[in-house]
């Protein structure tokens, strides 16, 4: 019934294992081949359920094809390929191996035919992304990794509760559009939103990603949040709640990025912002909007990885991560600067770049549905993206003041990876049909109309003006900004300490009370039973005899009276 094919994710898993065991000289070859073979396998998967196996009495569907799934799997494999090129000189074998396994998880989720398979690959991603974070090797990375993995394992449990509930109550774990009418579907939605970095727990992302190695950040930027977007498209299209969740993420990302000083944390907040656009698109739920969410995930992975590559190249060359320490690097790192700027223009959706042809679909869908406030907020946010990522990142890292740093240009493999992704950003921007052809629904939309280019340029250029006018207000400070993670990093430990103190006080009280009680009891016993106590005194035998005789006498008298009566 089903043709025997291997799930495409397995090729990446084999690659990950081989990378760990082959000779160092062969490692780059294996690492580069694995994503390419996977990409080939992805394009061999036809629509529908292609591979099912029996597992614990269930028929689990390991591979289900379809245009949307192919689109996501393709970009994940492309990302893995670019990531390997970028990492192959610097990354340790365990980081490279974990990164490939992480990508395998994302490809696996893309083709998951049912919720069980999705869940397994979901957890696969959580585990190996944690290894990528830990590869950062610092104490900060270790701690951030622990917070990250706790968050994702808890999210995984919530997701699992939902899936099991659905399995029991409906008997089906098919991946299909669900509605928020039961506890089970709510649990599934919450589980997915944890990975999408939705509020109120968005903080795990900017907390963990910037602690990775210069190469690790590139991998982390791509998979977790975008598989969540794919799962949302498959399971919750048109769920209105997602519009508001998305809008919150969009503005959260902008505001926090504006306050941030760490360059890769700026980019991390910007991931939350961009995923917000996609989540909002899923919430709108029309064919145009879902196309937009999928297209935006595709382009976003390319330009966000490109931005993380340029930041990673800077970090690798200078060892510095704060905007306040950087600046003026365009002198000695011209290619990194150019590629970073192309990434920045793409994320800002400048005409001729990839962001322009993908984000427009979502904004257009909001307009078509006459969602007045949503449209106005999305347009304002589009200007805000240019502000916080489009200008702020390249300006503070590559331009602004001369920091005096003269780092060498990035090594050849990093340059190739950056050129590759920059070229893809421009290619999609110039020939949107290349991307539109891959989208799940037919596209009846032309991004390059005079009207659209004109309004977009007005919006972005004046946003740029606002940046330079407000520049004195944007001066970087040596600060971090509190987020909801304060509750579990500080408040929770403070609460613990308060409880501990109260418990200690209570214990001391009880202990003292018990001591007092014992003391008073023993004092009372001493009074009666002690050496001088009433009950412990020695009594002469004579008085005992006297008392006995008296009692007998009384008994005799009473007995005589009674018999006489």
């Amino acid at each position: 019934m089903f043709e025997i094919i291997l799930p495409p994710a397995f090729f990446l898993i084999f690659g990950a294992i081989l990378v760990a065991i082959v000779r160092p000289a062969l490692r780059p070859v294996v690492a580069l081949l694995a994503p390419l073979v996977t990409l080939y396998a992805i394009w061999q998967v036809e629509d529908g359920v292609r591979l099912a196996v029996s597992f614990l009495g269930y028929e689990v569907q390991l591979v289900e094809g379809g245009p949307l799934r192919r689109l996501f799997a393709t970009i994940f494999a492309l990302m893995a390929f670019g990531g390997v090129i970028f990492s192959l000189r610097d990354a340790k074998w365990w980081e490279l191996s974990a990164a490939l396994a992480y990508a395998a998880g994302a490809v696996g989720v893309s083709f998951a035919g049912d919720l069980i398979v999705m869940f397994v690959f979901w957890e696969f991603m959580a585990l190996f992304s944690t290894v990528v974070i830990w590869s950062g090797g610092t104490e900060a990375a270790r701690r951030a990794g622990i917070r990250y993995v706790i968050m994702h394992l808890v999210g995984g449990i919530v997701l699992k509760i939902g899936i099991e509930g659905l399995m029991i109550h409906t008997g089906s774990v098919e991946i299909r559009a669900l509605s928020l009418e039961s506890f089970d579907t709510w649990m599934i939605l919450i589980g997915l939103l944890v990975n999408a970095a939705a509020p109120p727990i968005s903080a795990w992302l900017p907390d963990a990603y910037p602690e990775s190695t210069p190469t690790g950040g590139v991998w982390l930027s791509a998979f977790t949040t975008k598989t969540a977007v794919l799962a949302l498209i498959l399971l919750f299209p048109g769920t209105e709640l997602l519009i508001y969740v998305g809008l919150w993420m969009i503005f959260y990302g902008i505001i926090y990025a504006l306050l941030e000083n760490d360059m890769r944390r700026i980019l991390s907040y910007s991931i939350v912002n961009q995923v917000g656009f996609m989540v909002c698109g899923v919430g709108i739920g029309t064919e145009m909007a879902l196309n937009g969410a999928a297209a935006h995930a595709f382009t976003h992975i390319l330009y966000k990885a490109l931005l993380f590559m340029s930041a990673g190249a800077v970090l690798a060359a200078t060892g510095k991560r704060k905007c306040s320490d950087l600046g003026g690097l365009f002198r000695t790192m011209p290619l990194t600067t150019l590629c970073g700027v192309i990434g920045a223009l793409s994320i800002s959706a400048f005409p001729l770049t990839s962001g322009f042809v993908s984000k427009s679909l979502i904004v257009q869908a909001a307009g078509d549905e006459h969602l007045l406030w949503v449209w106005f907020l999305l347009v304002a946010a589009s200007a805000g993206v240019f502000l916080h990522a489009g200008i702020k990142f390249p300006w503070f890292v590559f331009f602004q003041k001369d920091s005096g740093l003269r780092p060498p240009e990035a090594p050849w493999n990093m340059r190739i990876a950056m050129i590759f992704f920059a070229a893809l950003c421009l290619l999609i921007g110039l020939f949107p049909a290349l991307l539109y052809r891959l989208l799940p629904y037919p596209v009846d939309y032309i991004p390059y109309t005079q009207e659209h280019v004109l309004t977009q340029l007005q919006l972005l250029l004046f946003a740029g003006l606002a940046f330079f006018v407000m520049l004195p207000w944007m001066k970087r400070t040596l600060t971090i900004t509190l987020d909801t993670d304060w509750f579990w990093r500080v408040a929770a430990s403070r609460l613990y300490r308060i409880i501990e103190r109260l418990a200690n006080a209570l214990r001391a009280r009880l202990e003292q009370g018990a001591k007092d009680a014992v003391a008073s009891l023993s004092a009372r016993l001493m009074r009666s039973h002690g050496a001088e106590g009433v009950l412990a005194r020695t009594w002469p035998t004579g008085s005992m005899l006297l008392w006995s005789v008296s009692f007998l006498l009384v008994l005799v008298v009473i007995g005589a009276r009674m018999s006489a009566g």
């Binding site: 307009g367 449209w375 009207e451 309004t455 007005q458 919006l459 250029l461 407000m470 500080v490």
Partner: protein, 83 residues
Amino acid sequence: MNEKEHWLARSSTIRWLWRVFALMLAAVVLWQLWTPVHGHFGIDGLFGFHAAYGFLACVGMVLFAKLLGVFLKRPEDYYDRDV
């Protein structure tokens, strides 16, 4: 530092860049004289709407971020001291 200032960092270049930027700003607004914009909601079809909206939205977001920063900014080692 003895090295010659990079051409892009010279003040003459920066002045020149500002002029080009101002010209571009003017051009994208004036372009609307030839290309009517049909908005979705009426107001977004007004002359220069996107320019004004983009500018004001950004100013608003920077001010809001600044305000939020007053309450939420902490020294960088905030989380390191308390553990």
